[in-house]
Symmetry: C2
Subunit: 252 residues, 2 copies
């Protein structure tokens, strides 16, 4: 079966289209994306298996998805903890953080210590495309530059994710991976293989390098968008906001 | 068991609080409210029982919830049709309508004819409190004035809802009902009793007059908000965005 993945460039164009002619607001899309992430976590790691979830949030949209997911997880009965070292000044992300504070969800500063007392980890550091805020360089499109240049504390966090035995669900891309090419060939992140990955809207080429359980989320794509960008409409069932697929999107 | 309902005044204050100190945007809240409505419809009328759903939308927030619900219903495989005779100029509602148009969901002008070819009806005409747009009079708080003064085409629509044999799910309040006092004592709407009602955030006093199946939706209320406004946190299960309760909110 032919691969139906969405290149970084196409994914950026699709998101731009959703928010322009598609008439979605970023609030809406992020709410639905984060809801999808929370449902994937529930599917692979129901709260009875251990309610503690450490949600690591980066400064961009991927981090925003993580903040939304954490709120829903709290409502499902999980006990999330947020690691959010570079808080965005973006008004939306500030509001999403406030919504968590109002649920008494703790924010922690020490990732190394937090990772030792959690049952599951959500990696929402890098991955989703950046549309707002800075930096808006070509490098930033993948959320992680081709040159591998990422400032502390993120290298330490990626190293900890690489080494932990706690299962990890990555949002849209395992942090450190390149959207097109997958994991770095060597060095930091080259051996990072999360147990679970949820691709938002459609799988990206990196999924060819992923060998865990794979989900697609973001049940807002229209058939006409899927046709235009040449990918299959995910076969969502019932009320589900996610669907489990083979890593390249095929039905299981 | 003591009734734990939310007066019209308290409900208005709660919604205002969610969007101020609670840091929610109207986009977020409406997305989650509409998602709840879509899940209630799925619960009482799964698509296999008949995919056609007529969604009647009023000019305010209740109508916005209906537009969001219709989009989710389309994604679940329903064939919604929208009746939206007084389109709001509000930018959010215009975007919600555009999102439906992009899914090729038809908008119809003739309610009397549409009601004859549907399997289920969502009544999202009046009910939810108004926060934006006009009119913002005291009467408008209930979406339907105490004096019963509502302009065409809405009286005809309410009459058709009252007379139809097709099951109806009302959003937050059966249209024509008063939030505090329930159905009008006589005249238009006095015999309107929808089969299903979904109360958003918490039941309002009108539920004492309702004798169908009742749901609560809007899984974003924090325990501190519930405590402050003196109602029980609904006992949502799993990933559900709705919970079925007795009409006064008690567990079934």
């Amino acid at each position: 079966m032919a691969l139906k993945t969405l290149s970084a460039k196409a994914a950026a164009a699709l998101d731009k289209e959703l928010m322009s002619t598609g008439a979605f607001s970023i609030d809406q899309l992020m709410e639905l994306a984060g809801l999808s992430v929370s449902q994937a976590v529930y599917r692979v790691h129901p709260p009875a298996r251990g309610p503690r979830v450490l949600v690591a949030c980066g400064p961009g949209n991927n981090g925003g998805d993580g903040l939304v997911a954490a709120r829903h997880l709290r409502h499902y009965g999980y006990l999330p903890t947020i690691y959010y070292p570079k808080r965005s000044k973006n008004e939306l992300y500030q509001r999403l953080a406030k919504q968590l504070e109002d649920l008494e969800v703790p924010f922690v500063d020490d990732f190394g210590s937090a990772i030792k007392s959690t049952d599951h980890i959500v990696d929402a550091i890098f991955g989703r495309l950046q549309h707002r805020g800075s930096p808006n360089s070509a490098d930033w499109v993948t959320g992680f530059s081709f040159s591998g240049e990422v400032r502390e504390p993120f290298p330490s966090v990626i190293k900890a994710l690489e080494e932990t035995k706690v299962p990890v669900t990555s949002v849209d891309a395992p942090s450190s991976w390149n959207i097109e090419e997958g994991p770095p060939k060597s060095g930091l992140g080259s051996s990072f293989m999360p147990e679970y990955l949820i691709s938002l809207t459609a799988p990206k080429p990196l999924v060819e390098h992923f060998n865990g359980r794979h989900f697609i989320g973001g049940r807002f794509v229209t058939p006409s968008i899927a046709k235009k960008y040449d990918f299959e409409m995910p076969a969502y069932q019932g009320l589900d906001q996610i669907v489990e697929t083979g890593p390249t999107g095929q039905k299981l």
